[in-house]
């Protein structure tokens, strides 16, 4: 009988009642990981020698999970899915890895990401493309691609992710699972390979809101190694999941959700937005108020370029330690600078080089005011607007992306020039550090689509509760991927 596709509480009960052992669960998980690897390519590595742990009061004890391969794992190769670190073995555990070890959870995989988290297609990792388990012809999105695909396949109940623009929440939508990005700083970033430090957030991918609450309860907390972390000991996520949402006030943004804003909308987009309206109606049936709010289009249109400027600029700085001198494959050259340049030239893929060139451009002295500082000014305007709305409303509800997962094709990484706010609005959550969760809310073209709930800073309990209440009235809790095309 298959156990590993159950949720955390069910697995814990089985372990406590000795219906299954940690060793058996890990064995089952690893066998299933090998089964899905050929078709999904979710893993940089499967840890065949993962050891069982004692079953304790901790809900995560004895349970296997997946580690996105940008979290440092002591003594285990951690690549960031980049050739520039293909053999790098960290000498310490990231704080989240350490906390999960303390909770008794067992990491069994290192999952593929878009190189250093800098992508949204799951196609730029150095070990190849991640395929969506619902349709191997489609992308699992990114950058937490392998984490999302493997959780959707039911090889374990949860995996770690990181989210700089939507890297947890979008892959979750495209694979039909739950993706939770907590408030910025609630979970330590120590040991996470940085992409854009003012936006990077650690979170998880699961198949239920309750599991997401359990995981973040275990990994959150102040950390002296991360100066942006804060004390959240008074926030108990799982304990406060009660589904009591009557009287909550939600809003959505008309300019993003109204089909009339889109010229020649595809059938998938129409269906996706119709499905979103059904979720809005469901919110109302649960006693929540949902209002349509207008936000200035000029400000909304500046959302995606603000992300481009801020994150790419921060990335150029964060990646400057990748020299191949004290770690990473040594480059060739007659002097140190040539060696570093050779290492970086060979180590980075074309797509992140593109991001670096843009980051370099916006940081040129003649461009700093016009692009870098103005983008940070727009960030303030967006955050001010959202904070103003969060004073009036409990949460923002929006559809994720413009439909289901996209087909994998050779053009998917070519910059198409679109400035699509519907595809990029989850970045709002990173600009303001807001708690934000995606849950599945239906199907378009037989493939899963998602809805996102975002709330005010440190109000994670409220955001999770709204998602929990909605999830309980829909049929997608603990959903597993099944091949549909």
């Amino acid at each position: 009988m298959e156990n590993i596709n159950k949720n955390i509480s069910e697995l814990h009960d089985l372990l406590v009642n000795k219906k299954v052992t940690s060793e058996e669960l890990i064995k089952e998980s690893i066998a299933k990981c090998h089964e899905i690897q050929e078709k999904t390519n979710s893993f940089v590595m499967i840890l065949d020698d993962a050891k069982p742990t004692d079953v304790t009061d901790s809900l995560l004890s004895g349970i296997p999970y997946g580690m996105k391969d940008n979290f440092s794992t002591k003594g285990i190769v951690t690549t960031g899915s980049s050739n520039s670190l293909k053999d790098y073995v960290p000498f310490f555990d990231a704080t989240v890895i350490k906390k999960l070890k303390e909770a008794g959870a067992v990491g069994v995989t290192k999952t593929v990401l878009d190189e250093f988290g800098m992508g949204c297609t799951g196609t730029t990792g150095h070990t190849g493309i991640v395929h969506n388990p619902w349709s191997y012809k489609r992308s699992a999105s990114g950058s937490s691609s392998g984490s999302a695909a493997s959780v959707a396949c039911g090889v374990y109940p949860f995996a770690l992710g990181s989210d700089t623009g939507d890297s947890i929440r979008k892959p979750a939508a495209y694979t039909g699972i739950v993706g939770y990005k907590p408030t910025y700083g609630m979970v330590s970033r120590y040991g996470l390979f940085p992409y854009a430090s003012s936006l990077d957030t650690v979170g998880c991918l699961t198949r239920s809101v309750e599991d997401a609450a359990i995981v973040v309860d275990a990994i959150k907390g102040i950390d002296e190694n991360d100066m942006t972390s804060w004390d959240s000991s008074d926030i108990k996520l799982k304990e406060n999941l009660d589904g009591e949402v009557k009287g909550k006030k939600l809003f959505y943004i008309k300019e993003i959700c109204d089909i009339s804003n889109y010229a020649n909308p595809s059938d998938e987009l129409k269906e996706h937005l119709d499905n979103f309206k059904k979720t809005v109606e469901l919110c109302k049936s649960l006693g929540m108020g949902v209002e349509e709010v207008n936000v200035d289009k000029t400000l909304l249109n500046a959302l995606p370029p603000t992300y481009v400027v801020v994150s790419y600029a921060e990335a150029t700085s964060n990646m400057s330690n990748l020299t191949g001198i004290s770690f990473g494959p040594r480059g060739e050259g007659d002097n140190v600078m040539d060696m570093i340049k050779d290492h970086r030239t060979k180590g980075f893929s074309p797509l992140i080089k593109r991001r670096f060139v843009i980051g370099s451009y916006v940081l040129q002295s003649e461009n700093q005011e016009k692009y870098f500082l103005n983008a940070k000014r727009v960030r303030r305007l967006i955050v001010n607007k959202m904070n103003e709305l969060f004073n009036k409303y409990d949460a923002l509800i929006l559809p994720v992306g413009s439909g289901p997962a996209k087909y994998l094709d050779e053009n998917m990484n070519i910059y198409n020039g679109e400035n699509n706010v519907l595809e990029e609005h989850l970045q709002i959550g990173n600009y303001g550090g807001y708690p934000s969760i995606t849950i599945p809310n239906g199907f378009v073209s037989k493939l899963p689509v998602g809805v996102n709930i975002t709330g005010k800073v440190k109000d994670d309990i409220n955001v999770l509760n709204i998602a929990y209440a909605l999830e309980s009235k829909m049929d997608y809790k603990n959903q597993l991927a099944r091949e549909v095309e």
Partner: protein, 99 residues
């Protein structure tokens, strides 16, 4: 005709010690005008220069200063050198820097 020559693109890359292949140069050059056009949407917001830039999502206040007596854990050099492709004894080896 692009506003960005290959020399300009290579210069931006070179400042980060990154080299580009001719395919990478062409890809970036073909996209750069549109990328810049979209980046300029930022500048369409009226009076944007009067707004104070926001660097972090919200203010994070550090209230605890570490005591001078707290010794931080030292990592043995041999462990740090395990990821280094070229070293001698306790030192990273590189070509001669000073003549």
């Amino acid at each position: 005709m692009s506003n960005f020559t290959k020399e300009m693109i290579n210069n931006y890359a070179d400042k980060l010690l990154i080299g580009l292949t001719s395919e990478e140069e062409e890809m970036i050059q073909s996209e750069f005008d549109q990328i810049e056009k979209n980046m300029n949407l930022i500048n369409e917001i009226p009076d944007i220069s009067k707004v104070e830039p926001l660097s972090f999502p919200f203010e994070v206040t550090l209230t605890d200063l570490r005591s001078d007596e707290d010794a931080s854990e030292e990592i043995p050099i041999d462990i740090l050198l395990q990821n280094c492709d070229s070293y001698e004894g306790r030192e990273v080896e590189v070509p001669k820097v000073v003549g």
